[in-house]
Amino acid sequence: MKAPPTAEPRWAMRLLHWLCPPHRAEELEGDLEELFRQRVGEVGLRKARWRYVRDVLSLLRPSLMKRDEYSKPATTTMIRNYLKIAFRNLAKNRVYSFINMFGLASGMAVAMLIGLWMYDELSFNKQFKHYDRLAKLWQFVKFDVEKASYDVLPIPLAQELRSKYPDFESVGLSVSRNVILAAGERKLLKMGNYIEPDVIDMLSLNVVSGTRFGNTDINSILLSQSLAGALFGTGDPLNKLIRLDNKQTVKVAGVYQDFPANNTFSDVTFLVPWAFFAANDDGAKRDKDEWDSNSYQIFAQLKPGADVGQVSAKIRDIRMKRDNPPGYKPEFFLHPMSKWHLYADFKDGVNIGGLITFVWLFGSIGVIVLLLACINFMNLSTARSEKRAKEVGIRKSIGSLRSQLVAQFFSESLLMAVLAFVLSILFVQLTLPFFNQVSEKQMSIPWGNPLFWLAGLGFSLLTGLIAGSYPALYLSSFQPIKVLKGMMRTNRSATIPRRVLVGFQFTVSVTLIIGTIIVFRQIEHAKDRPVGYSRSGLIEIGMNAPELYRHYTALRHDLLNTGAVAGMSESSNSITEQAGGTTDISWKGKKTDTKPLVMSNYVTHDFGQTVGWQLKEGRDFSRDFTTDSSAMILNEALVKLMGIRHPVGEIVRQGGRDYKVIGVIKDMVKEDPFKPVNPSFFAVNYRNVNTINIRLSPKASSHEALANVEQVFKRYSPDAPFDYKFVDDTYARKFGTEERIGRLAGGFAILAILISCLGLFGLASYMAEQRTKEIGIRKILGASVFNVWGLLSREFVILVAIAFCLAAPLAYYVLSDWLQNYQYRTELSWWIFVLAGLGAMGVTLLTISFQAIKAALMDPVKSLRSE
């Protein structure tokens, strides 16, 4: 009789076969099959199968699954024993285990965080399909001695590239603007780009609903998903109308997926056709064929195989070959997308890197911190392992082979390393939100990435192997008879590597301490710099809505009448930035061979009084002098450039008009607070302005004052959102990069010191324990607590002193190099080095003293009686 082959549920059979201990498999499977065949006859196939499955499941109980304990004395048994001993050792020396694992785990966590950060930086912009073929147009221009670089270009260049240079697959103009978008009652101030349709393809835009706009569309807009949600909630945004800046109306053509966070375009929330911009923007209308008006960005996609360098060389002199070349000698070139984020800095016509410096800097810090943690781990493991020489002796006399001892020590250190890895993942998970905040990123642990696990586990194994190599290879070579007789003595040379490692740790720590102090000093230095105006209670409001123009006097009157406002004026750009400059300026005695760039600022009469600038010479603009419409106020930098002793009363010619200099102000820091102030002039102009400056009255609370100001604004421009910025905040943001570096460096320094101290603490307690008897005898012979403390501390103090001698020149070298990046910089004072050295010494002594004093206070009777 033969049953049909598919009769029994296969999976159940396999399950049993897989889980069942081998010595039971035969009888159980036999029973199952016999019962099954019998039941097929009695109750039918379906029920028999059902009973079969039930029986299999009922057999999967622990009492039947138990493997026969003595059936296979294999290597697994021995490894299980090693692990058991390893765990017992961990539990027995809780403090050491904690120090060891905690130190290694925090080192790994730091390395992991930095690794994530580097990965994020290096994968910037890589989401684009044509990543390797995209580029942005830049130009070098020469105003003065050095070439400056700008990513803004003239409009006609785009058409020129498109029509005459076959290397380009597509070329597109783009410009970013902050715009008020109004859909029904909702009004939002958002940043977006006006682009030519080709740019959509370059950016591999993912349009999720609706369609992209084409060459013939003018009044349409593409919204990012997040903006569409903010404007229309859950409703369908397609074909809805949106008013831009309360002027023109556009129709929503489609919605695209937001650009990812690590992307140049992550701030762009909507896209509008360039044709719309060209038709409505006064500047764009004026600059349509203007080769010397550089205000627009141009993106380009090269044909496959075209080389960025070669194409750059071809397009370099486009402007200089045309008629009437400008004095600043523009050289066009392509900046490939792969370099946008990390290599964005140019100096005199050469790319000098950029953020990539930090990628490497933090990368090396990560490696060093990890190295510190590994050194600790090895130091402590080796120090502890000497305690176990007796265990090795006994194991050997009972019959352990050397290879088994090697395996034992390795399995112990591997266990530690893997536990530390697990712990470090926990640390990373806990600190990631904070780290994201500090580094202004949105990173997460790549749980699904096999490479991450491979790297992490691979590294843990490596650390475990290295840390375990000393005890595994050295201790296992002991002769049992010597060890058990107590003749085992560590010779002095064995401690040398340990000292070198501790010295290295402290060199790194001291360097990092000095570095942190300098970075913060540099930030403080720039923050304390006199800015030339008063920031307190100064707010600025962008004039996006057209109603805000042409009401200057009335608006000012109303604002001052609220009593909450001490001063109000308008200016051509925010006081924390510099929008325009000109080379079309001359004065008596100006050298004809240079074309210096002078920053131009247009303000209303009340500007000086509102922002509180400091007049050095002459007077402020005043309505009492009608001639002030052609008057100029200069800053000290411009006076210095002009080389005129008493500039008041001089005539400056700019843009074809003569201006009379009526005053000189102290330099106002408008741009980079780490750089010298550029030469600038200020002239009265009520039309060429876009920012309202308001000084809140110190008498009212800023909350009340703002409410009052808002009321006034709502009267003039009921449709625009009241969007103001405190100059204080805007100015503070200029320190973002430096503060980030400072905070990260500080964090790493603290960690490095912590890790080093953990290691030191472990070593000190180990040494104190080793010398218990010596200390006992010394005390009996009359040594004081202080003597013993000195005895135990001396070695470490010498180590730290040596470390300091190494760290100081290293830090000096690295940091003076870093400070070279800043023209306005702090000094590397000697006291910083002394402070760092004393700090490191203090921490060291504190760490050791705890152990040293504990050892010194021990009762000698007890320590000597122990054998």
Binding site: E27, E34, S58
Partner: protein, 108 residues
């Protein structure tokens, strides 16, 4: 004494081993119990009970007797040990003793 305590199901299984004397293995005992008691039992319960009985020393086992119905696999044949037999007798005796102790008036 905990070691020799017999649960109700263990007792049933031990009895079934005794009934099938000479040919008592998992499947046979399942059949025996199902026939005798008219209730369905799972193979796992039977094997685990046999396992416990063997640990207590009430049954003994050896491998043997392969048949075609089992796909050529051997059976584990259980036999009741002398100690198992005594345990069964003791239970029976205890029950009888208690039956005898019931006063006749209890049923009226």
């Amino acid at each position: 004494m905990k070691g020799t305590y017999l649960g109700e199901f263990e007792e049933v299984v031990l009895l079934a081993v005794a009934i099938r004397s000479g040919d008592a293995y998992g499947a046979a005992i399942v059949n025996e119990i199902e026939q005798q008691m008219d209730r369905s039992v799972s193979l796992g319960a039977v094997h685990s009970a046999l396992n416990r009985l063997q640990e207590k020393g009430l049954v003994d086992s050896q491998m043997g007797g392969m048949t075609a119905e089992r796909g050529g696999r051997r059976k584990r044949l259980y036999t009741v040990t002398a100690y198992g037999r005594r345990a069964l007798e003791e239970i029976r005796q205890l029950r009888n003793q208690m039956w005898d102790a019931i006063p006749h008036t209890a049923w009226s």
